[in-house]
């Protein structure tokens, strides 16, 4: 009997992994204003997952490969039509999700699983899911650590990066692919619809707390882990949906920090205007 045989233990490990992963990747998602793209990816990987389930192959493989296809298509369209990134993203979002729904509805007895794909269940993750998430955490951390400064420059000043001779298309693809595998790794725990919460929320909250790039990563990761663990705890306590609980905590923390920083900003301005 190993420690990981317990459903709750597995859920805790998965929560820590996806919380940290989502937080770290989210810093780039927020800085590059990619939340909408991330949302689209969560929906666009959905048909890949359904096809994989129908064929009986690994769901990660299906979702991951299909998502990479979408990343390549969106990038190619954006380049060809000149920066019209959101249009391509919007089409990928609705088209991907629609394809998934059509595929699911064509299968008898498949509708029950639809809920599992769309909202996930962290209490149902197996050891294989944990290994897959762990691999993604290591791969994405390595990518960000090794190519951090090039990704930073490409994100901040794409023309300047190209002027320096950096392969900006490849770097863009690497970053979007990192977001994509993060989405796929997060889907079993939070589902296709809610995965975006852990990628956008903690980093957006961290951004309210600090302007500096380096501390953004640990702060966002800590918020992601805390929200994921709180969600698991609440859902086992009251027997409510885990993915939704995690997403609610993410929203709650963002709201509280937002109010806190807004009040602090007002107090500061008032003190600056009327120094005692």
């Amino acid at each position: 009997m190993s420690w990981l045989d317990s459903t709750v233990h597995r859920a805790v490990v998965e929560a820590v992994l996806v919380g940290a992963l989502g937080g770290v990747v989210g810093v780039f998602v927020i800085a590059r204003r990619l939340p909408f793209f991330t949302m689209a990816l969560t929906h666009a990987t959905f048909p890949g997952i359904v096809v994989a389930a129908m064929l009986g192959v690994n769901l990660y493989l299906g979702g991951g490969l299909f998502g990479l296809l979408v990343v390549a298509a969106v990038l190619a369209f954006g380049r060809a039509r000149g920066q019209d990134f959101t249009t391509a993203t919007g089409i990928a979002l609705s088209g991907g999700f629609a394809l998934g729904v059509v595929l699911v509805s064509s299968q008898d007895g498949f509708t029950k699983d639809l809920a599992a794909y769309t909202v996930g269940d962290v209490l149902a993750v197996g050891t294989g899911d944990l290994v897959a998430t762990g691999v993604v955490v290591v791969a994405v951390s390595l990518l960000l650590a090794l190519l951090g400064k090039e990704l930073l420059l490409t994100a901040f000043d794409p023309v300047g990066a190209a002027a320096l001779g950096l392969p900006t298309l490849l770097l863009d693809f690497a970053l979007l692919a990192a977001v994509e595998v993060t989405v796929v790794a997060t889907v079993p725990a939070l589902g296709t619809i809610l995965a975006v919460a852990l990628i956008v929320g903690p980093a957006a909250t961290a951004r309210l707390i600090t302007d500096r790039l380096a501390p953004l990563f640990p702060i966002a990761a800590a918020i992601g882990v805390a929200c994921a663990l709180a969600g698991v705890w609440v859902s086992t306590l009251w027997n409510v949906a885990t993915g939704a609980s995690i997403a609610l905590f993410v929203g709650l923390v963002f709201g509280v920090v937002f109010l806190g920083t807004a009040v602090r900003g007002r107090v500061r301005r008032a003190t600056a205007a009327n120094p005692a």
Binding site: V27, A31, R33, L146, L147, K149, E150, L152, L153, A155, F156, D157, V159, G160, A162, A163, L164, G165, L166, R207, T210, D211, R212, L213, L216
Partner: protein, 253 residues
């Protein structure tokens, strides 16, 4: 006097996005330590000209040679300064980090900045008068200060050619002075400078040569010879008015 080496050679060059020619029949030579002003109305192709010098827009006819090489091969020794307001002011990056980007090419892949890189960045920020703002977020600076940070980024790259895209747009007098000083010191160190601007006074002040552009080249040569009422009127079409015989005011830029 020692003959200065040519750093930029334009030889009947045309550049195009896909099938659409943007600039045609460019001719001229720039030497070490010289500055050339690109002058022309909006949409004249000034930004495209700069991108062609970076090898980001292809030369479809003729030849552009930068530092004796093709533009793409010369990038290592060329620094580009974009317009500050094209960059996201909310981006979580400090002044120091932006200036450090100028060192990335020299630092190379998979490496971190060394103490020497930090020293270069500190010196570059000193030269634009913003060393005291190094730790501040880029977006909290004024437009003119952000433009100076981007120039510091270029200086930190130790380029032999400096390309600036409209650096004086919406810039206050203090920043304009700081930019002009820094550009002059780059010239003294032997760098060539290409700067696009709407400001004819700055062209007179900072540049040895002028290239008048509006899809075609309307003149290239010493500032005094090229910035004439006739040529400006030709470049700007109906949007140039003559004042007191020898001065021209450009009504639309």
């Amino acid at each position: 006097m020692i003959e200065r080496a040519p750093t930029l050679v334009l030889d009947r060059a045309s550049v195009a996005y896909g099938d659409v020619p943007v600039l045609e029949e460019l001719n001229g030579v720039v030497h070490e330590g010289e500055a050339v002003a690109l002058i022309g109305p909006n949409g004249a192709g000034k930004s495209t000209f700069i991108k062609a010098l970076l090898g980001l827009v292809p030369v479809v006819r003729g030849r552009i040679e930068v530092l004796g090489r093709s533009p793409a091969q010369a990038r290592r020794d060329v620094a580009y300064v974009p317009q500050a307001d094209t960059l996201d002011p909310d981006f979580p990056v400090s002044v120091e980090q932006v200036a450090m980007m100028g060192r990335y090419r020299r630092i190379g892949w998979l490496r971190r900045p060394s103490a020497a890189d930090r020293a270069e960045v500190a010196e570059a920020l000193e030269r634009v008068g913003l060393a005291h703002r190094a730790r501040d977020r880029f977006g909290t600076l004024s437009g003119g200060q952000r433009q100076r940070v981007l120039l510091a980024r270029a200086i930190a790259a130790k380029p032999r050619m400096l390309l600036l895209d409209e650096p004086f747009n919406g810039v206050d007098a203090v920043s304009q002075h700081a930019l002009l000083e820094a550009i002059a010191s780059m010239k003294e160190q032997g760098a060539s400078v290409v700067v696009s601007t709407h400001d004819l006074a700055i062209a007179h002040l900072a540049c040895d040569e002028v290239c008048l552009l509006n899809r075609h080249q309307f003149g290239f040569g010493p500032t005094e010879d090229v910035l004439t009422p006739e040529r400006l009127r030709a470049t700007y079409g109906g949007h140039a008015l003559e004042l007191r015989g020898d001065r021209v005011i450009v009504t639309q830029t």
